[in-house]
Amino acid sequence: MSDNELQSAATKLFTVHSRWQDVGEAETAGWAPQLWDALQQSGFSDVPVAEELGGAGGSVADAVQLLRAAGAHAAPVPLAEAGLVGGWLLGCAGLALPKGVRTILPPAARLRLDGDRLFGTAPAVAWGHRAESVVGLVDGVVVLAPGPAAPSGGPAVSRGANLADEPRDTVVFDGVPVTARADAPDEVSEEKLWERTALGRAALMAGAISAIAAMTLRYSGEREQFGRPIGRFQAVQAHLVTIHQQAAVVASAVDGAVEAVELGRGSFEIACAKMLADRAAQLVTAAAHQTHGAIGMTKEYPLHYLTRRLWAWKDEAGGHHRWADLLGGALVARGPDALYPAIQYGSEVIQ
């Protein structure tokens, strides 16, 4: 599929299966079975995993494209966890994709392997309670294990949720036997897992921000006060400009991160992209709510599906400070004359 075909196919799927009403229902029920089935049938949940491992093929750019569409529709499913992050981790280790719902054990999890048995606690696992399998990186080993929703022998789970009522569950392993395991190749480290997770969040955020930009522009043209559309007032235009500036910033940053990852690097660009997306989330949600006024605060109007996700996602996969500290520390260590080349060449010259 070309970029445009993929984008329009994805948009079509989410438009049908991730309507605001569906998102609302999934927030209550903790799951969106029809949406997930559609993603599995289309193969979108299995991008970018190679076909010989049971995936749907595709590039990192394809996976990010899908996540942008998912973010724009606030899709209540672990798409990033299944594909860009979890699928990548399995693929790197040469492990085949399992059937059913899968998610990732986040890099912050405290886990250990004893032979083939998994011990420890994984906090904030996205849709953990629905996962039939979980993927994780434990002491340099890529692990595929039964999830809490496995037919038998899965780990214990307790439900949690982020600000957007997306399930973020605590999963406890007390010697659960793993399904498959393989040593992670050299290029896969805990830091790389952080980066992939952050790229996934930044892509979702880019999608959500672009949807907010369109929604707010539309509303400001329709809503009339003082006898004219509110978008004609300079003070409101300033909000629209902020939102569109930040949409451009995050879109370009995610593009840049993808370009670098496809060249086999990307630490610098992903750190930048996540930082910029986090900052944009603050600016965009504030400006969009201010433009919408009271109606934007209601459950009935869909702005909150997007803004609550941005508030949640900005702190997930490492918040602004984690990435700023990491990047800034590396830049300062390289000294003043390496600073501008790093801005120009990114991860080509700095790790």
């Binding site: 910033v249 593009d255 300062v332 600073l339």
Partner: protein, 382 residues
């Protein structure tokens, strides 16, 4: 929007290497006083040396002395010059603004006469837009061009004109006819040595008296050959240029050297958690502003006129230039007091910082205030 690739091709990277090598040789670091972006020093010899390499007016067609280069090539050259704090003041306006205007609207005669001299770095231009009663509301200019026999006579007052005291020519926006606000405006090239031109410096708040000026035009004779484009089309022409003018590296890079020299002169503070965090945050913003700015240059090369996008970038980039200054001051949290005359302070960082604090309010004013830019950008959204 702005999805064009933000990476450089091999020839573009080669060009960057050449500019870097030229600067290291012609203007070694530590042997000159670096400036803050486009507000850097004026140095005709340096401009001639840059031009010698073919990097002034480089997008001009070769038959008029240019190099047939792209907007991205020019981006590459300008980025290297500005991040070095090079003294670009003499040729800056000619290169960024006048050369593209002449290529697009100039007569064959004007092109043959002026473009080769611009490309040799000889000519310095000033821009006669603002007037005492026409700042952001540019369409209300009152300077008039009146027909007098076989030529025009221009009268009025231009103010806050950068480099008027050393410019060879001014490009002046004048009213030549009646009609709705945006009609009846025309642009003239005015030879600054013409009778009736009086330049009076306007001291800048930083103490400089050789930058800003008032220019009184008292019946200045202007021949038809000095009219730019068609009489009455000045406003439309002006609006079309803004994509070139508004989105270049000069709109976000002006205070970069502060960050670089902060890391050099305050390594311990830069290595604290607060220092590193700030450097990381600023690097991310430089990285993405540069990407967006480069994407506009690519779009221009593809034949687009991304004026609204350029306005979005300038509005954001110039605010960022100011934020860099305040963030560094906040981190340093110390008085800016020199024990010697400020110009003799041995610390380059301190000299740059003093200048940046005093100059930075102008970043969001020059070339269109941010308030006006937001209006331009908002119109482009719908």
């Amino acid at each position: 929007m702005l999805t064009s690739p933000a990476t450089l091709t091999a020839p573009e990277l080669e060009l960057r290497q050449q500019v870097g090598a030229f600067l290291a040789e012609t203007l070694p670091w530590g042997t000159f006083e670096p400036g803050l972006g486009m507000g850097a020093e004026v140095n005709p010899e340096f401009s001639a040396a840059v031009a010698e390499r073919g990097w002034v007016g480089m997008a001009v067609p070769a038959r008029y002395g240019g190099r047939d280069a792209t907007a991205v090539d020019r981006f590459v050259v300008v980025e290297e010059l500005l991040r070095w704090g090079a003294p670009v003041g003499h040729h800056w306006v000619a290169d960024r603004q006048i050369a593209p205007v002449l290529v697009r609207y100039g007569t064959e005669e004007q092109k043959r006469w002026l473009l080769p001299r611009i490309c040799r770095g000889e000519l310095c231009f000033c821009i006669g837009m603002s007037e005492p009663d026409a700042g952001s509301d540019l369409a209300s200019v009152r300077t008039r061009g009146v027909r007098d026999g076989d030529h025009w006579r221009v009268s009025g007052v231009k103010v806050w004109t950068s480099n008027a005291m050393r410019a060879d020519f001014m490009i002046a926006l004048c009213r030549t006819g009646e009609g709705a606000r945006h009609q009846g405006l025309s642009r003239f090239l005015i030879d600054m040595r013409s009778p009736g031109v009086t330049v009076t410096p306007i001291p800048f708040l930083n103490g400089s008296t050789d930058h800003f000026a008032e220019v009184v035009l008292d019946g200045v004779p202007v021949p038809d050959e000095m009219v730019i484009g068609d009489i009455g089309q000045g406003w439309t022409q002006n609006a079309n240029e803004l994509a070139f003018e508004r989105s270049g590296p000069d709109r976000w890079i002006s205070t970069f050297l502060l960050v670089q020299e902060f890391v050099r002169e305050w390594p311990d503070l830069a290595a604290t958690p607060a220092g590193s965090r700030l450097v990381g945050e600023l690097a991310a913003q430089y990285w993405v502003l540069r990407r967006l700015s480069l994407a506009v240059a690519r779009a221009i090369d593809a034949g687009d006129t991304p004026a609204a996008e350029a306005a979005l970038i300038k509005e954001m980039g110039t605010r960022f230039e100011q934020d860099v200054v305040s963030a560094l001051r906040e981190l340093l949290d110390r008085e800016l007091v020199c024990s010697v005359p400020p110009a003799q302070t041995p610390s380059l960082f301190e000299r740059l910082l003093r200048r940046a604090v005093l100059d930075s309010p102008s970043f969001t004013i020059r070339g269109g205030t941010n308030e006006v830019l937001r209006g331009v950008a908002a119109k482009g959204l719908s």
